[in-house]
Symmetry: C2
Subunit: 391 residues, 2 copies
Amino acid sequence: MKDFIFSNTTKVYFGKAQLHHLSEEIAQFGKKVLLVYGGGSIKRIGLYDKIIAELNKAEMEIFELPGVEPNPHHTTVNKGAALCKKEGIDVVLAVGGGSTIDATKAIAATAKYEGDDCWDIITGKAFVPDNLPIVAVLTLSATGSEMDIGGVISNVEQNEKQPMFGPTLRSNVSFLDPTNTFSVNAYQTASGSVDIMAHVFDVAYFSAQEEMDMLTRMQEEVLKTVVKFAPAALEKPDDYDARANLMWASSWALNGFLFSGIEQDAIAHMIEHELSAFYNITHGHGLAIVIPKWLSYILDEKAAPKIKRLGVNVFGVDPAFSDMDGAKAAIEAMEKFFFDTLGLKSRLSDLGIDDKNFAIMAKKACGAKGKLEGFTTLTPADVEKIFELCS
Amino acid sequence: MKDFIFSNTTKVYFGKAQLHHLSEEIAQFGKKVLLVYGGGSIKRIGLYDKIIAELNKAEMEIFELPGVEPNPHHTTVNKGAALCKKEGIDVVLAVGGGSTIDATKAIAATAKYEGDDCWDIITGKAFVPDNLPIVAVLTLSATGSEMDIGGVISNVEQNEKQPMFGPTLRSNVSFLDPTNTFSVNAYQTASGSVDIMAHVFDVAYFSAQEEMDMLTRMQEEVLKTVVKFAPAALEKPDDYDARANLMWASSWALNGFLFSGIEQDAIAHMIEHELSAFYNITHGHGLAIVIPKWLSYILDEKAAPKIKRLGVNVFGVDPAFSDMDGAKAAIEAMEKFFFDTLGLKSRLSDLGIDDKNFAIMAKKACGAKGKLEGFTTLTPADVEKIFELCS
């Protein structure tokens, strides 16, 4: 196994009676806060008022950036960063799901950039070693952005969706209250749950690299947590245990622990990102469609044992199967979970996506290297075939 | 489940080619370092010379405190703290196992105390909100001190062994190189492995509190890691995979993750601490003797399901057993693992301990409250009976 550095400095307040710590935590960073949020669901659930009360308690001067999109736009990030510079913002506060937190991270970095376009940083044209402090209040269990070092930003003009990473691009303090996810609807609960599982698959479980046994089994426990509690949350949206397990699973899927010593391949993510870049679909739903077809496409003698192991340890597939049959049963069980249990549509055509852009998306997914390397290596032709299997 | 705060700021360098980062990491804290170590094994394995070379590379002024005892003495801590004050030490560097790191933490705190006796802090007579920065190079997988917020110090004059906790009593940077444990002998490998398991049992698994399902299963994975890799390390002491899994398991057993939302009862530890306080035995060996007898003693209808679950999920006990029979089989399997597989002696009499001090040790174990509360509540009379079962 490879050497690695583990460091995760995010302080997490987890639970239903923790928000009263927000005032003391935010005040340590200064007096001026930019409150970043999305479409207004935080007002519907009463969270906005509680946040404002906490900020007033800390005597913060409050600026707001509402309207962050799902798959957040780089133009929105630029707007937030300009506001930070103009007003001399000390700390950015994200209240929302992964899109809001991702946008907030990008704002925090761009606010320290002498240029005005975050896309310069995201594409590597500019390097910004520092960012404003970040505080997050999570309302959706999915992306892991609350405890990881990155985010994903979309450039809608160019149909591009790109990740952004940096050691300081981490929330300083995150508030994880499972009750804030009680109102998440079935579709977003299902999509978020697939996103959690996809992180485990993509950053560690399906990897060409040698792994640490303890961590492989920890990865399976996070997957089993989702398999157990996503249906429970769908059945009873205010099931605290279910929402709490999903929330902590989302953070731990991507906070560095599970992939200690493994460089993340993120192949399924690279493929799916093209779908949500071109069609603005929900990331987790795209992943649910892509992952089983990706695994079917790459299934050979080399890939079979690990895919079978997933089936046996996570989906209850019979260990007596051969590697190949066990792997097929695993993929079937996964599809049954995504499409029957979680109720997601199984085809790109269900989302109104036809084959028009498959070739260009496949090429873009493979990036400048012209291929995706990892658990197995994929060329643009391979990715195009995977899109066809999904259609 | 209870609300909780998760925060772990230790930066870990894990692997076989990481020590070259020591110079840059230590230099950030100042110019004067106190190097703390134990009986000299770090010289035998060549680690001492590598450490000195790194410190010289960083142009540090080096002071040394060798000779830290297993179950480290408060007088040694006081000696180290006095040296820190006299020389104006900037950072303390522990090179060794849990005893050395624990002593180093206590030195780091006492160096900031206006008095000169660490026992004042440990017994709560004095409060020190701050400590010198701590860096650790681990050579034994056992106590988890490399990533946790506490340590255990012994007062040999009073036959007392007391824990010491504090949010800043955490190693700032820890170096975990599994090859530094290749030379750990069979006895210390076995004892350290039991210590890791005991942390999981004591801080989380056997708890009266409501738990988060994902974490219970994560706890079992840490336990299974030890059950798998401790025998492998005994069989082949330079098995890198085995040593690496044990090392990372030791850190994660006690770094806060597994017991998110659970207040630690630490009942078995409280009982065992009396044994090592009075008789200076190896902590992990004491735990191996105490834990199965403690579980046998408390086994009733309420305790049976969780003990059976341990048996089924960790030791391969047949799930078809009744709760009570399954629990008995679990305890038997645990004893077989500790005493047959790991080769530890099973009785206090094997360690030269007779019943002379059972009553006073039982009373001390129950502390000022006069009882141990947790998974089950124990009085001094109960603890004395457990000692008798162990004798």
